[in-house]
């Protein structure tokens, strides 16, 4: 089985790029692969806890929580991008990491595939 690194930069609301990335991660984990998932820029909104589920907006936290339980999925939020948006360690869901941008670059180093999904 391989390791997939997915970098995301699009916002949780206003684009479906993040939805696509999470679906891709879910499919990869279901096939037995490991996934490192990087949240940068506006994508850091995905890390915020206490999101409400409305049908008009994407709700991805449930899937993320299920993926974290598999042990094959790591999700990391960019520290500077998060702090600039008022998202700190205490604001994010349990199991999510906060690191600086070098984490993403390091994750790519030994990934079998990297999918970098740019921002708006």
């Amino acid at each position: 089985m391989g390791k997939l690194t997915i970098g995301t930069f699009s916002s949780l609301v206003g684009s479906l790029s993040l939805d696509f990335a999470v679906k891709l991660a879910e499919a990869a984990v279901k096939k037995g692969h490991e996934v490192d998932f990087w949240l940068s820029g506006n994508a850091t909104m995905l890390g915020k806890k206490n999101q409400s589920k409305f049908r008009d907006y994407s709700y991805l936290l449930g899937t993320i929580e299920e993926l974290l339980k598999t042990g094959k999925f790591q999700i990391t939020l960019c520290e500077a991008c998060g702090k600039a948006r008022g998202i700190h360690k205490e604001d994010i869901i349990e199991g999510m990491n906060i690191y600086s941008m070098d984490w993403y670059l390091a994750s790519m180093y030994n990934a079998d595939r990297v999918i970098h999904i740019g921002g708006e």
């Binding site: 820029g41 670059l105 390091a106």
Partner: protein, 137 residues
């Protein structure tokens, strides 16, 4: 020592979104990546501006004065200071009627030694083809 080459290809305009800024900050973050890697492993970033992205390289940006945020110019100069390879697509510069006099070519005032390279698109394609990872911003 295993060095992996990452190509940061920047096509987005500056300031319209955060994208090109994130490209530069991620590229600069390569300087500390080794804390997460095994001994002997490292990353060599190459930054290439193409298409509208060449406008990130214009001189005399005033983002700090006008908006109180660091400019793309400051990030590019920091990249040069750190000896990162910075390429600008020659054909795309010409499309905008720009020359090396209009763009950031060095970071001499802060002690940088390497300079920006204006190169044909074919050379940037070569960087893309030989990179271990390509990150398109």
């Amino acid at each position: 020592m295993a060095v992996k080459k990452y190509a940061f290809i920047i096509e987005k305009l500056p300031y319209k979104s955060e994208t090109s800024r994130l490209a530069l900050t991620h590229a600069i973050a390569s300087q500390t990546v080794e804390i997460h890697l095994e001994e002997g492993e490292s990353v060599e970033p190459v930054i290439a501006f193409v298409g509208d992205g060449v406008l990130n390289c214009l001189k005399d940006q005033k983002a700090l004065d006008m908006y109180g945020v660091t400019s793309q110019e400051m990030h590019i100069k920091n990249a040069l200071l750190l000896d990162l390879k910075v390429l600008v697509c020659k054909e795309d510069l010409e499309k905008y009627g720009l020359t090396e006099d209009d763009i950031i070519m060095d970071a001499e005032e802060i002690g940088g030694e390497v300079t920006t390279e204006i190169v044909p698109f074919s050379e940037i394609m070569n960087v893309i083809e030989t990179a271990d990872q390509v990150l398109f911003f």
